[in-house]
Symmetry: C2
Subunit: 631 residues, 2 copies
């Protein structure tokens, strides 16, 4: 009987060969979610084989070819061989309402797109120097001797220390016989000295990657010595209380004190997540020497306290696209105050740094001739199409429905969210699964996609999203003109009300998916390209570990193309921030990409409304566009 | 009868020719101090002839050749001709206890040493640009358009704005049809954009020059468009409460919270003086775009919160000599927070930025072959000797006696200070004059020098500074082992005690002058130079408008050399700061000078004590050194 060892818990068990891996885990007392009950459709029981061989029949469509190549399998579709096995079980999605995807987001990005080891070159570097002790008559100050030691290694550029560094010099240069760890940022002609510590502290060198979304903010702690992601925390952007989308935030910010309130709310969210993730990994705020932040143009303006008014007024001119380097203390980030904060560049008022960051997770950032499409589904939808020769981009207002906002029982992908639903064809009753496994508190984007796809598959809704009132089902309730689909009655609910989805909610989702599909179709039209010309379609968004492509095609969110062309890259804005954080080469590449992009204004295209209207069906009014979706 | 007009009051009077100018002023109701009663010895009735000719017999020794060349005369020694005359009367020294010398300090520095008009080039410049209004489709942000406008004029270097500037861009670029005034600092490869204002604000462009002395702090407001000094304020350094000299301050700073206290005290003094001088001239703090600060090495460390401990511990290594540019907000100066603050470079632990600033007021900063000596008399005495080929410097601990500290009834040169004393040879009674003309509150440095010189001249003290107890005088009182010289009995005093000078006070002054003379003699010995080889002797210090060279020689403070070789340059640290503020060329020159200087450590010279002991007499034990001083 082979010995199966599970990481990171270290639990192990001997079981007969040919046992299903999911069963082995349960026997060993290792918790693995399997909301679809082992059918291999939900993708929630993902694990990674660290050592050993298995027989896996994981289907594409749920699991990308990249994920399989990286050793991922579905525990419910995997049978053990005769040899010992070591299996990595990711931490539960949404644990404590904060964690996402167990810090394993890199697995979603194709390995060859990530910086190689030799390209690891964070903006801030730790550098050990031995500074001679002071000597009578050499006429050299502490700063003189330190500067010379650094210049000895890095050349004669000026070395610029801020006041806070000067204040610790006497101690730092004398505490360990002159052995000091410097934190340096080398710009074109200068060396900025942002920290000096006595002794060898080179192993403690951290950075943060931040995604500031309209609805959700994510903060990732990275060990800069090895480019390792230590942990990620995310939560609602506290600005949500001041409006659900960017336009309402811009309106809210019209008075200076309200702009300041929005700035403080975003900053407060970031700093709170930062404290959580650093405390969990016993990292002091001062040990964080660099931050990269990506967000849309409005989020960037609000975070910096820049008046966003002209973003939405003709001619739609923001204060800036490329942000100069600012220090953490200027921005208000609670890390080493002298750290430089780098912002992903924006392209225009409606294509921001989240997109130029996200592109780094795709082939669009490479020298390929193949034409690729990147769709980022957040509160707004942004798209980029192109190859090494051209890059076109556009934005559409999808609304925050996929992030659970603007939906009656909607919520983000956190503890208690229904993230997966199957519908019984005969009774119409739901079988659902929540993040964390407890009572449902609401439904998140991936739950809505799964629900709509399955209601459509089983005929309980029609192409316009109306629930079937003609067949009796305990799940369908009609109140006045509208019908509701009951996911969890009050006694099953984790809230003080039942969890249900109304036809108005369904309409919201349909409008969101129609906006994205229409933008997609129109952008390709502008580029003179057919869907079939696309080599790869990258999808970014906060859906959690997986977006079920099959279901997304069924509802017409994305075009009906061979499933292997799709790559779900997760929170690409966050991953792009990570990439920029660990590699200045990629940061330079990002700036070049941003400058190369041409913005297409869909709102001024008279055919956009036609495209949008045609997409307001499931999957589409033109069923020929979705040949593989059986009606 | 010629018409005599007085500036700035505008008062005028017609008087017969050959009238003494002092009488004409009094008849016109113009107040001119004349403490010596019109003998031409005190130099207090200084005025400047703006237009017209006079017959003046002002003696050198009181008035420098430079001052005479600049049109200065003593009102008591000047008789009117037949033609109309316009006379400038400086404001009273010490008025309001704050003003010094009516902003006329430039008059003390030889004109040819000051920057020429074409050398006016402050670090920060105001530059008017017209930024195109935003246009649909050009893809340019506000910052892009502003940057291009600046680069169009100044070349393609990166333009770096801080966050505070970014926050006002939307308004500034739209308020006056794109006409904006930028405040720029051009460094080697970058343009720092520290302020943007709507419209043409180029005429309102200010800077401050600051002297941070151990005892006194002075702040000078300068109009950077014309390099005009608008006003100067000075007061005690609030650190005085924590120790009179640098060593006691360093000791005080041993605990971090006390270092912070010292930092705050200096900063508080500067900001208070700054508020006074800006309010007086209706200048807003934000309109001040540059600051230059000079002070000794310890004062610099304390102002920046740098641990000064190692300044006084072998091997006497400070944290820094050259300070990197810091912003006003980092330093804590209450001016435009983004302003760069420039510090005069130090040479070593005991030769600081006050000296490298002061040298700019002397021939030592020029390409001359002649050997010059610069003596700066503050709480410490510092000396520099050299020419274009060599520069040697040393420091001696004179103590704050010349600044009125450590003297029982001593005070700084402010309202109520006795600044001039004459002694009646027969009775020994004093005739004194206070700053402001009111009741005396104490005696300042120039008063002590005048008193000692006249007591010596009249034989009421001997060469060791002991008062004559053998002749009866109402001015001399003996209490126990010590005798006192009574300047003002209680009923004449502005305080609740009599104003008197004890033999201990006299000893303090003698020790101070001995330290300076000995350092002077020894430095020349190290340089292999005789006193007679000196072309010029520049004396800096806070003595007010004039240091009476004759009296200073009589007591042996400075060597007995031809009077025309002496140039009193006033607060040379402040004037040097002004020079650096208005001219980057002089700033570069200052850095080169500082690096060229060789520091001579007098404390390690075994003959210093002999030289010092020999100088503990009035004027000196070796009377041959002072042939022109009649015993």
């Amino acid at each position: 009987m082979p010995l199966i060892t599970f990481r990171p818990s270290g639990k192990s068990i001997e079981v007969p060969s040919n046992t299903e891996l999911l069963d082995a885990a349960r026997q060993a007392g290792v918790e693995i979610d399997a909301p679809c009950g082992g059918k291999g459709t939900c993708g929630k029981c993902l694990v990674r084989i660290l050592d050993g061989h298995v027989d896996s029949s994981s289907s594409l469509g749920v699991l990308s070819a990249d994920a399989v190549a990286a050793g991922h399998v579905l525990a419910c579709r995997t049978r053990l061989g005769a040899e010992p096995l070591t299996v990595e079980v990711p931490e539960a999605s949404g644990r404590e309402g904060m964690r996402i995807a167990g810090g394993d987001e890199t697995a979603l990005v194709r390995g060859e797109l990530l910086p190689r080891k030799w390209e690891y070159e964070p903006m801030a570097m730790k550098w050990l120097v031995r500074v001679p002790l002071p000597q009578l008559g050499d006429g050299l100050s502490d700063l003189d001797r330190l500067t010379r030691s650094i210049q000895h290694d890095w050349g004669p550029q000026p070395v610029l220390p801020p006041l806070s560094v000067l204040r610790v010099l006497t101690h730092a240069l004398r505490a360990e016989q002159g052995l000091v760890t410097t934190t340096l940022i080398r710009s074109s002609n200068e060396i900025h000295l942002i920290r000096v510590e006595p002794g060898d502290q080179t192993v403690r060198h951290y950075g943060i990657a931040v995604d500031v979304g309209t609805t959700t903010i994510a903060v990732q702690l990275v060990d800069l010595t090895s480019a390792t992601i230590l942990g990620t925390r995310s939560d609602y952007n506290e600005q949500v209380a001041c409006g659900l989308d960017v336009i309402s935030r811009i309106n809210y910010a019209r008075r200076p004190e309200r702009l300041e309130e929005l700035r403080t709310r975003a900053l407060h969210t970031i700093n709170r997540l930062l404290r959580q993730v650093t405390q969990e990994h016993t990292v002091a705020p001062d040990e964080i020497s660099n931050a990269v932040i990506s967000g849309n143009t409005t989020m960037l303006h609000l975070l910096l306290g820049l008046n966003p008014e002209y973003i939405r007024l003709d001619p739609y001119t923001p204060t800036l696209h490329e942000t100069p380097y600012l220090t953490a203390v200027e921005v208000g980030l609670e890390i080493n105050p002298e750290s430089w904060v780098c912002f992903s560049p924006c392209v225009g008022s409606y294509v921001g740094g989240d997109i130029t960051a996200g592109m780094l997770c795709t082939d669009l950032a490479t020298e390929t001739e193949q034409i690729n499409l990147f769709i980022d589904i957040g509160t707004n939808g942004e798209l980029v199409i192109g190859n090494r020769d051209f890059l076109m981009t556009c934005a559409c207002s999808a609304g925050p429905a996929f992030e659970g906002a603007g939906i009656e029982c909607g919520m983000r992908a956190a503890i208690g969210a229904i993230e997966w639903v199957e519908v019984d064809a005969a009774t119409g009753l739901p079988h659902y699964w929540t993040i964390g496994g407890g009572k449902p508190k609401g439904i998140c984007g991936s739950g809505m996609i799964a629900l709509l796809a399955d209601l459509l598959r089983t005929g309980w809704i029609d192409a316009s999203g109306k629930l079937d009132r003609t067949r009796p089902s305990h799940a369908i309730r009609v109140q006045g003109r509208h019908a509701y689909y009951l996911l969890a009655p009050l006694h099953e609910s984790g809230m003080d009300h039942a969890i249900q989805v109304s036809e108005i909610d369904i309409e919201n989702i349909i409008r969101a998916k129609a906006a994205i599909y229409a933008a997609c179709a129109l952008l390709l039209q502008h580029a003179g390209i057919a869907f079939t010309d696309l080599a790869n379609i990258y999808i970014g968004g906060g859906f959690g570990r997986f977006l079920n492509i099959e279901k997304a095609i069924v509802i017409g969110l994305v075009p009906d193309l061979p499933r292997e062309k799709f790559h779900y890259v997760g929170n690409s804005s966050l991953m792009g921030s990570y990439i920029v954080l660990v590699s200045q080469e990629y940061h330079r590449r990002q700036l070049v990409l941003a400058r190369r992009m041409t913005y297409i204004d869909l709102s001024s295209d008279p055919t956009y409304m036609d495209q949008y209207t045609a997409a307001l069906f499931l999957p589409h009014t033109d069923r020929n566009l979705f040949p593989s979706v059986t009606p």
